[in-house]
């Protein structure tokens, strides 16, 4: 125990730092470069776990565990949950729309990083106290002492903050139903009154090769009908279009039968 969180570091820790640090930076870079939000989230989760290891290496045992349990376990899962809710496969286009934004961002990022690093380099951080004494009564006990004495007020306020956040999230996402839900009978009556679309909506995949929910049914001319796909999927733009596939198949079939029956092609016939 004493080697960890000492004023100087062991070679093991150095090896660990260099390997895991590289991975962490890679994970961070992947987080911002991956097109899909899911991948970003997974990369971020990886980086966070590495950070948890670093916390442990720095003698912050409690924080290391909390990092894994709360951050990686809860928060990142919340992220993934929302990503799923919104559409897991919706990929971001990485094309920049604001002129010069990317260059400015890169410049600022690199500049800021360089400045920070220069600042740290400038600071005379040669003396190390180490956490040996502070952690002597146990890390968790030390933290607890501080939280319930020196930081008790801030701690109580964070409690209030958490409650507020929970309530706020519920308020934001909860939709109050202002009117009674319409019964099926009423809905059908309304449909007839409106007279826009009387029969039930067609099922997905009609006339298409597949009947998966995200494949639009085909109209007689081979074009896909968006009506057949679930509203949510439509909104997310997650419709797979297989109409061209079907048409190509049809064309190939006709071609083959023409060849076999030695009929004149349509171009020739028109001559």
């Amino acid at each position: 125990m004493s080697t960890l969180a000492a004023a100087t570091t062991s070679t093991g820790e150095a090896v660990q730092f260099w390997i895991l640090g590289t991975v962490a930076v890679l994970g961070a870079l992947c987080t911002i470069l991956m097109r899909r939000a899911v991948h970003s989230a997974l990369c971020l989760a990886g980086t966070m776990i590495i950070l948890a290891v670093f916390y442990l290496a720095n003698g912050a045992y409690f924080l290391g565990i909390v990092q894994i349990v709360v951050y990686t376990g809860a928060i990142m899962m919340l992220f993934l949950f929302v990503v799923m809710l919104i559409g897991v496969s919706a990929a971001d286009s990485l094309k920049e729309t604001i002129k010069g934004q990317r260059w400015l961002a890169a410049l600022c990022g690199i500049g800021f990083g360089v400045l920070l690093i220069a600042g740290i380099g400038n600071a005379s951080l040669t003396e190390f106290s180490g956490l040996t004494r502070a952690n002597s009564g146990g890390n968790v006990e030390g933290l607890a002492t501080l939280i319930f004495t020196k930081y008790v007020f801030a701690f109580e306020i964070t409690g209030a903050l958490l409650i507020t956040a929970a309530v706020g999230a519920m308020v934001l996402t909860h939709r109050e139903r202002t009117e009674r839900a319409k019964t099926q009978r009423e809905l059908s009556e309304q449909r007839i009154r409106d007279g826009v679309h009387l029969p039930p909506l067609p099922a997905p995949g009609v006339y298409a090769r597949h009947n998966a929910v995200d494949i639009a049914g085909l109209l007689p001319d081979g074009s896909p009908s968006e009506l057949t796909v679930n509203k949510t999927l439509r909104a997310r733009g997650q419709i797979r279009d297989v109409s061209s596939e079907a048409l190509n198949d049809l064309k190939a079939l006709e071609q083959r039968s023409t060849e076999r029956l030695e009929r004149p092609t349509s171009e020739e016939a028109s001559k």
């Binding site: 987080t31 950070l51 670093f54 992220f79 809710l85």
Partner: protein, 99 residues
Amino acid sequence: MNPVNYLYLAALLFSIGATGVLIRRNAIVVFMCVELMLNACNLAFVAFSRLHGNLDGQIIAFFTMVVAAAEVVVGLAIIVSLFRSRHSASVDDASLMKL
């Protein structure tokens, strides 16, 4: 190895996170980048805690985590309701704050 390296790492991660906030348009990813920045800070706090030999840095990192948790909850709720009304999670689409 000098534990100051942790600080360099934190600075690097922080810069990467900040750049991500600036270049990504998906609100969720932007949010993740913010989390990355927060974590970078936490790392710095923990390293400082070791440098100074007391636990205050860890306490602050702890509070950061709590606040981040609250923030994530509310932020994601906002993203969800935004998505509900606009069918998009792009931060550029919410650009009504102009004349």
